[in-house]
Amino acid sequence: MTWLVWRLHRTQLYIAAALLAALTILLLVTGLQMASQYHSALAACGASHSCATLASTLFLGSHAVGFLVIMTLGVPALFGLFWGAPLVASELETGTSQFAWMQSVTRKRWLAVTAGEMLLAAAAWGGAVSALVTWWSGPDNALQLDQFKPGRFDIMGIVPVGYALFAMALGLCAGALLRRSVPALAVTLAGFIVVRAVVTIWLRPHYLSAITVTYKLFSPFTPTGSYWQLAQGIRNPAGQLVPAANGLAIDGIPVGSLPAACAAAADGVRPTASCRQALGAFHGFITYQPANRYWAFQGIEFGIFAALAALLIAVTAVVVLRRDV
């Protein structure tokens, strides 16, 4: 079976290998440059005691490569589109299933080996791309502390492997159900985007209950490390959310929401002592997922997508084994 899988899909695997090799070279070269750039900047700011502002003054690497790295968000979908969707669909579409399924190999074994090996390949490639991106982003993560944020979280660590498995399984399942490659391709792409968006927007923030910290306006609180901020704002003494400052504001409170004692300050006069005191009753809050939950979140998200993949594979198996040809 493996022989046939390899013979049928080796071109795709060669292409994938070539693309991966190109990406590896590009990220290795630029990654090493970025690392040395970061370390020399760190040494320089250490000498001048200005490292606190380094994140806003230093830009690592180039925009083009940075954009390419962000684009690896789409890599898992490619496995679903080019490997998963046609895997069963093209066999049914061209009738070659009648060749494959009439050899002395049961359909169960045919599916297990074909799907299993291609899933493994997708996981390996997804893992390799993710490992490269994770390594490449090391200095940037240390500088910007943003690897927990959506868009960055999704291209590093183990979640890309989960996405790759899910995309493959989705493609397989769509292909087995629709029996034609092109519609299966469309369904795979749409399904992948929808599921990823739903999980990112509505599920991920709630994997573990978020931490909310309330602080005085004159001593703002910033969590340590690469935390993921879910919400931040200011509440007035009545506990109502103050609208975000847009234009003239004192301590982040827009003019319209200022207490009466600060009426003069709204006209640009320095806040009086009574205004300061009234502002003391306002407080800020931040809701976030702390940095130390990063790997827990990676694990949970991987688990969700791996479970979805398993479910889709089970559906595929039922469809393929029961299908009349």
Binding site: L4, L8, T94, G95, M102, Q103, S104, V105, T106
Partner: protein
């Protein structure tokens, strides 16, 4: 309707009873009861859409029946390597991987089958000057057919199911292929069912026939026996009820002066008013096919046996 031949259980390569297949609302095959003894080449004859492909797929285990029973090579078609190894099936659409060469297919077969004679494929294709190393998608339809047939034979099955195998072949290739089939069956251990809508193919090599029309079996049995049983009776226009009582009248054509009857005899026809003549396989097939079509002019063409 069909006399099932009294064949000992062990000697039947195929035995079905009341076999039927429905696809949603459409009935592709119904109440199919046939027996094909081992070592035969059976022609599966019928008009387009008669259910030939459905029957072959049921026998190959690619499709599961809606009702009825079937045994193939002594067992129920199932997903099991030993059963799959005993069946060779070639679909009408010649399923081959278009980007792969014949040599690739030989390699695949070698990895997927316990008994595999890849050398026989190479020999046959070389003799036919079909390139082994070119993608089969670039070969002509007839060449692809030859590749697929050679691959199906290389599996060394006990039962070979071929759906319109010679449709894409030129007359010479057709003759050669049928000769190869006949040789393979003569060597023993092989039973063949091949579908066709050409009776000429069947006459050349087949010794058994299954005739389907309108998703039902019209006829099934040994060709020589069937030819011996059927006769064309031509006589004056008179009462034919005596003949209808003693024999099975398949088809009757009445003109003002004479009556022509196609009968399946039960014993000799003794009425001297009728002139009996032997029939060809084609005539038998056409007579049974006509049965299922609604008669164009009812007074001239009545249906002999309402099944």
């Amino acid at each position: 309707m069909i006399e099932v031949q009294a064949v000992p259980e062990a000697a039947a390569a195929i035995r079905t009873s009341g076999l039927g297949k429905r696809y949603r609302r459409v009935c592709a095959l119904s109440d199919c009861t046939i027996t094909v003894p081992e070592g035969r080449i059976s022609a599966l004859i019928g008009p387009n859409g008669a259910g030939k492909t459905t029957l072959l797929r049921l026998l190959a285990g690619l499709t599961r029946p809606t009702n009825g029973e079937l045994t193939v090579n002594g067992g129920i078609p199932r997903q099991e390597p030993a059963f799959l190894a005993s069946i060779g099936f070639l679909a009408q659409e010649i399923p081959l991987y278009r980007r792969l060469s014949a040599e690739d297919h030989i390699g695949a077969g070698a990895h997927l089958n316990p008994r595999w004679d890849g050398e026989s494929v190479r020999e046959r294709l070389t003799a036919l000057t079909i390139p082994l190393d070119r993608a089969v998608g670039t070969l002509s339809g007839g060449q692809r057919s030859q590749v697929a047939l050679a691959l199906t034979l290389a599996k060394r099955p006990r039962l070979l199911l071929l759906d319109e195998p010679v449709a894409a072949l030129d007359p010479l290739a057709r003759r050669n292929f049928l000769a190869i089939l006949a040789d393979a069956v003569a060597a023993g251990g092989l039973t063949v069912v091949l579908s066709s809508h050409l009776v000429a193919d069947a006459e050349r090599v087949c010794d058994h026939i299954i005739m389907l029309a309108a998703s039902r079996v019209q006829l099934c049995g040994d060709i020589e026996e069937l030819l011996a049983e059927h006769q064309l009776l031509v006589g004056p226009r008179k009462d034919t009820s005596a003949i209808e009582r003693d024999h099975r009248v398949v088809q009757v054509t009445r003109t003002p002066r004479q009556v022509t009857m196609f009968v399946r005899r039960c014993g000799p026809v003794i009425d001297p008013a009728f002139q009996a003549s032997d029939v060809s396989l084609e005539e038998v097939v056409l007579a049974y096919m006509g049965q299922d079509a609604p008669p164009a002019r009812a007074q001239l063409n009545s249906i002999g046996d309402n099944q």
